[in-house]
């Protein structure tokens, strides 16, 4: 059952991604409406798959690469759906959905067998720490996507290249607004995730902070987004350079999440 809903999700996301990309070329209300409905269907199937797995495993399904990537994709889709309904920006999907699809394909490549939970992780903290971290990651991913779109749209406007893609992309102000909102949602979540992580670490490993690679890199991610948010709140910092830093922040975050687990062994890598 878990497998069925997982592969159904994969298929739905695949079709949805194609539809969103088609929207970039020639969007009709009908096409974008269909894309949105299919995405909601995919999201529901995905929820089902995750819930099934959670019941089978007896804990949150985020303990190996297969589960984490899938859960990350689910968080991104949830955050994306919020912005799509709130701001009516179909073109954002054309940038976010391909990443979701890649994450899901990645997830399907990693072995998916259920394993008993590492005893060190058996704690109520797993919920607050990890759910907040995934939430922050999802918002930062959207922020990275909008920042990329901002750079593209700003490039078109500066160079006077007003083609089809220019017409499909939303206005700079809309992109800026979404990006800022992502920061204000994501940053507090990451902050609390790091704090709860430290408390949990003190209980499980006996030390609040042990410079484990995951911890180090989350701190770097935290500093990048702190700088962005600080600049915005004090001097109203925005525009292209802020967008570049957001993209950088997103890439660092991606490395924190995936790269550290795969490349550098540490307390947080469980594979």
């Amino acid at each position: 059952m878990t497998d069925i809903s997982f592969y159904l999700t994969l298929a739905l996301y695949g079709v949805t991604t194609l539809l969103y990309l088609a929207c970039l070329l020639r969007s009709t209300p009908c096409l974008s409406g269909l894309a949105r409905k299919l995405l909601v269907a995919g999201f529901l199937a995905h929820c089902l798959a995750v819930i099934h797995r959670a019941i089978a495993a007896g804990h949150l399904p985020i303990t190996n690469m297969h589960e984490s990537l899938s859960f990350f994709a689910l968080s991104i889709v949830a955050a994306y759906l919020y912005f799509e309904f709130r701001f009516k920006v179909t073109s954002l999907g054309s940038f976010v959905l391909p990443l979701v699809l890649v994450l899901m394909i990645g997830s399907s490549v990693f072995p998916g067998e259920l394993r008993p939970l590492n005893p060190a992780l058996k704690s109520a903290w797993i919920y607050s720490h990890t759910l907040l971290a995934f939430g922050a990651y999802a918002f930062f991913t959207i922020a990275g996507g909008v920042a990329g779109m901002y750079l593209l749209q700003s490039h078109f406007l500066k160079k006077k290249q007003l083609g089809t893609l220019f017409q499909k992309l939303p206005s700079l102000d809309t992109l800026d607004e979404i990006g800022y909102r992502c920061l204000t949602f994501g940053f507090p979540m990451l902050t609390v995730a790091i704090i709860t992580g430290a408390i949990w670490a003190a209980q499980a490993w006996g030390s609040y902070w042990s410079w484990d690679p995951k911890e180090t890199w989350s701190l770097i991610t935290w500093f990048v987004f702190a700088a962005l948010l600080h600049g915005r709140l004090t001097t109203g910092w925005r525009g292209r350079r802020a967008a570049w830093l957001t993209v950088a922040g997103f890439l660092i975050m991606l490395f924190t999440f995936i790269g550290v687990n795969l490349l550098i062994p540490g307390l947080h890598s469980y594979n």
Partner: protein, 439 residues
């Protein structure tokens, strides 16, 4: 019955001629009545806009009808026929249908795709409907023209892009600022283009206007006109940060805004984007400001390139529109063709005769001990009955001069007796779209 079109437009006549033959909407009733009084003219609609004056009519006598309409345009306005004759065009049959569909779809407009013409035709038709000068054919014809125009509008992107410099500026602004409703426009200098653009920004929701000019009185006058605020030219850089959209057209021989000037402005604006539109030649804004983060600069050349690209795009879309129109003409011409007297009578007679034969055969099969000559007698009886029934309608239909009514009867007969038409559309009753309200 034939549709004929006679008229002149911006393509065939100068404005001096067009204004002479224009009809005022306030007194359209008399010319419409006079139109119907012309010999052989059954229905009529007069369309009169600043770019065209056209009469749509139906007649059985194409050559005569066209000739009388051409004369009518001159006579009504007390003009010698020779003065307008070279500018007139006339169409009949499918060419007339094509012409009206193209006009309604804005393919014949001065600016292809402009949206006003459809509303103008709707208004003209509203008058004709009100004064009873349009009948079954023109009613359906114009409703069809409206639906064709709607199809063209939704299925092609003929009207989707700006084809004037000031509209192009508004569209670009919408790609920088999502909504213009809380945006302030600053006018530096005066000039027709500049004022026009400012007006477009205001009608598209911009919040307010600031005006500055080397001559403060000019700035005040313009500010009054826009209900905005005038600024002394020397204080420009004290107020620049308040403006989101800046339109410049001064006669200054050098740049009045350079990147250096904007450093502080950008800070004061907390880096919110600014859109500079430089309409002046020589230019007022140093092109280097476009390199600054959050500053977007378009000069006259840039805007004209946008417009040129959009126009080319419209031309491509116009080809798609022509294909849609060709498709709709075929359908409509089929319906018109059904409104002919003789074929309708023949079809009606055939329909009744088929029924008669079928019923006769059934009676005879069931009547085992029928007398020998019964078949002949029943045949004669039923044939005579049908002839009697059809006698009066045939006379009425063939009586000339019934005009509008004849078409109504023909259409009704086709529908009531389900006479083969070959057009789906003819089965459906006229779309009872509400005629446009007349101002």
């Amino acid at each position: 019955m034939n549709i004929i079109v006679v008229g002149l437009s911006h393509k065939t006549a100068s404005v001096e001629i067009r204004e002479k033959v224009a009809f005022s909407p306030n007194s359209i009733e008399q010319p419409l009545k006079a139109l119907l009084a012309l010999e052989g003219i059954v229905e009529g609609v007069i369309v009169s806009t600043c770019n065209r004056v056209e009469i749509y009519a139906t007649t059985r006598d194409i050559a005569g009808g066209v000739g009388r309409l051409r004369r009518f345009l001159a006579d009504w306005h007390h003009l010698p026929y020779d003065t307008i004759e070279p500018h007139l065009y006339s169409y009949h049959g499918e060419a007339a249908i094509r012409h009206v569909f193209r006009v309604a779809s804005s393919l014949d407009s001065m600016v292809v795709g402009e949206p006003q013409i459809l509303g103008q035709i709707k208004t003209s038709y509203g008058y004709a409907a009100e004064y009873g000068s349009s009948g079954i054919i023109l009613n359906r014809f114009l409703h069809k023209a409206f639906s064709v125009a709607k199809r063209v509008r939704t299925e092609t992107r003929i009207a989707s892009s700006a084809v004037s410099v000031s509209f192009a500026a508004v569209e670009l602004a919408r790609k920088i600022f999502d909504s213009l409703s809380d945006k302030t426009v600053l006018l530096i200098g005066a000039g027709e283009m500049c004022e026009l653009a400012a007006r477009h920004f205001l009608t598209n929701g911009a919040k307010g206007v600031l005006v500055t000019n080397r001559t403060y009185e000019k700035a005040q006058r313009l500010a009054e006109e826009f209900e905005g605020q005038a600024l002394p030219f020397e204080e420009l850089f004290d107020h620049l940060h308040k403006a989101d959209i800046i339109l410049t057209s001064t006669g200054a021989p050098h740049f009045i805004v350079t990147p250096k000037d904007l450093k502080e402005v950008i800070q004061r604006r907390r880096m919110k984007p600014m859109f500079f539109i430089d309409i002046a030649v020589p230019r007022d804004i140093d092109p280097a400001v476009n390199e600054l983060d959050s500053i977007y600069l378009y000069d006259m050349d840039d805007l004209q390139q946008v417009v040129a690209a959009n126009l080319e795009n419209r031309m491509q879309e116009a080809e798609k529109a022509e294909a849609i129109i060709a498709e709709e003409i075929v359908q409509f011409a089929k319906w018109i063709a059904t409104l002919e007297v003789t074929p309708t009578i023949v079809a009606l007679r055939r329909r009744l005769d088929d029924l008669r034969r079928a019923e006769l055969a059934r009676t005879l099969v069931a009547w085992k001990d029928a007398p020998p000559d019964v078949e002949k007698r029943l045949d004669a009886l039923t044939t005579a009955l049908i002839n009697k029934i059809l006698h009066q309608p045939t006379i009425v239909l063939k009586r000339t001069g019934q005009g509008n009514r004849t078409d109504l009867y023909l259409d009704a007969l086709r529908a009531l007796f389900d006479l083969e038409l070959g057009v789906d559309e003819a089965d459906s009753p006229l779309e009872l779209e509400e005629p446009p309200t007349t101002p």
